[in-house]
Symmetry: none
Subunit: 188 residues, 4 copies
Amino acid sequence: MGGEQRRKELIALAYSIIAEKGFEGLRVRDVASRAGINGATLHYYFPTKEAMVQAVVEHLTEQFSTLREQNSELTDPLAMLRQEFADVTYRMEKFPELFIVAAELELRSLRDSSIAVILKEMYQAWQDYLAALLQNGVTQKVFRSDLDVQTTAIAITTLIRGLGSQLGSEKGDQISRIATQVEQWIMA
Amino acid sequence: MGGEQRRKELIALAYSIIAEKGFEGLRVRDVASRAGINGATLHYYFPTKEAMVQAVVEHLTEQFSTLREQNSELTDPLAMLRQEFADVTYRMEKFPELFIVAAELELRSLRDSSIAVILKEMYQAWQDYLAALLQNGVTQKVFRSDLDVQTTAIAITTLIRGLGSQLGSEKGDQISRIATQVEQWIMA
Amino acid sequence: MGGEQRRKELIALAYSIIAEKGFEGLRVRDVASRAGINGATLHYYFPTKEAMVQAVVEHLTEQFSTLREQNSELTDPLAMLRQEFADVTYRMEKFPELFIVAAELELRSLRDSSIAVILKEMYQAWQDYLAALLQNGVTQKVFRSDLDVQTTAIAITTLIRGLGSQLGSEKGDQISRIATQVEQWIMA
Amino acid sequence: MGGEQRRKELIALAYSIIAEKGFEGLRVRDVASRAGINGATLHYYFPTKEAMVQAVVEHLTEQFSTLREQNSELTDPLAMLRQEFADVTYRMEKFPELFIVAAELELRSLRDSSIAVILKEMYQAWQDYLAALLQNGVTQKVFRSDLDVQTTAIAITTLIRGLGSQLGSEKGDQISRIATQVEQWIMA
DNA sequence: GATGAATGAGCATTCATTCAT
DNA sequence: AATGAATGAATGCTCATTCAT
């Protein structure tokens, strides 16, 4: 449908405006004008600004889970962990908005429980995936036997989330050095 | 000075409002009314809202560097690292706003370079302190010899910053578990 | 167009408020409420108060040059000069705001060069017209041969501008007496 | 008295601010700060802003009548008229604020009858002086016999008032050219 | 005389939202 | 689907004025 297409366009535009200017700088009119439509028309697609934001949240979770689905053929825990870091590095360079918008949403989730729920779910899935991966590595004796997999999963996701929302041109280097460190730490 | 006192009160109030509602929810009028004064009176202390925010930023950096100064008598690297985690845990429980406001500022720093400068300085001091601590530990053979101290310092600060701005009742436990893990990882 | 109509209405209302209360007394809200619309709606037509004022300036120049265009069929210099005074008298009685707003703008032009430019152009055209008229009269020996036409043109326009912004019920008489004097002075 | 001195200083400062920025730009605080005192202190000298403005009006009338008193020894009508133009030229160059503030007040007098009264008195005195001068010249057959002295007096004052509030670097030349013209016109 | 602190009323402007067309 | 026009409720900020000290 043309209508559904436009809706998606609007969501993507709102998404990039949030990345650019934060939630603070998100204006219904701006989203509309970037799409070449009238501000009033936008309300045809979203009854309210809040509804648009909700759609952006959903958009983010989709973006977030896109890559993981494709790498499911790997089985080697270390390779999978490395792939994880590679994914993140790739996304940080290609789609830095992803991390910025995520950070904006995390902050917002402190006051908006509906966002909190969705975000929690999103990050939980990531953590679970990592925890399973790590557990697998422990079982295969690739990773050290005294590893607290749950805590490590939390640590890795938190680390990555934090790195993502920080700025810096040498981000790619940084993350690869951190990846190397983490590997060293958890390897048997 | 009565005037200076009120100024500080206003900064503290703005600070807590930012923690509660984010920058998005910061209203000059709200700060004023919480202080029991007229909105116009606030402009007697701060010519502009932006000036007030700047004062809040300075307030945050002061808050941030308060505790570290007191623990300077320690010399044992491991004890110092543990103290670092203990400090953070203490602050997260007693002054969770600290981390929330910091996270708000981090996001804002993406668009406001004057904030970026101050934050960078603030975190850099922390990282330098940690790096020195870790290096000391490596030299004393308390920490493993293949430790990349710079990267580890970045990892630890990023980890803590990330944990601080996440919510959750069991935060204290989480951080102590992570502390234990990190210890295990970096010890010789 | 309904929209263009309203825009003109707003300009006319701002124009009369300036005539009534001066620039000092011009309030966006007042203009809006006289038009029966919300203050915010006015900003739909003019992005800023300053833009509205600019539109008023343009309105004034249009008003100012309206009559002259109609009298272009006259050729006798004396008749044309008399017509000029008659025009002014007519306008002073029918549209006294014209002169008051013009005087307000003249004062404002001392600090706002964009207004200065427009006013200068407006008055220059008038002076040029008068100078040509006077020169014609000199050539035709209707006016005295030692007449400094440029200076006289300046004197007459300045005189009229000054009279216009002065108040007084007997203005009509005054101007006709002055007209008679000026005639006497410049006639051969 | 030191107090009376300061009062005069404040009036002079308000006077120059009006010349600079118009009534629109007159701020009690600005006047005070230029005098190096607190805005509240100014209210010790003037109960209200309006009272200060009234004092400025009086100041203007004093300024206005200063020069005339000194030239009373002249008796030749033509010399006196020339002196009048010379005075005006001198003032326009040395104290252009005089004419600007006068123009501001003229406009204000349209809405403030108390100012209108004072201004009318001020200009009337000038007109009366000029009318007497002209009448004297007619009697002495220096000026043409068909001169309408009242009207001419009005015309000359209006002309000068108008020239004064117009801007332009070549003002001095302009006024002397006009003076020459007027002389030519009214001489026998 | 002078000031710091406070205030109320007001001001231009912004913004999400509504609705007839 | 789309828009022009409108609105109410805010928002940051200004300013003359007040008053205790």
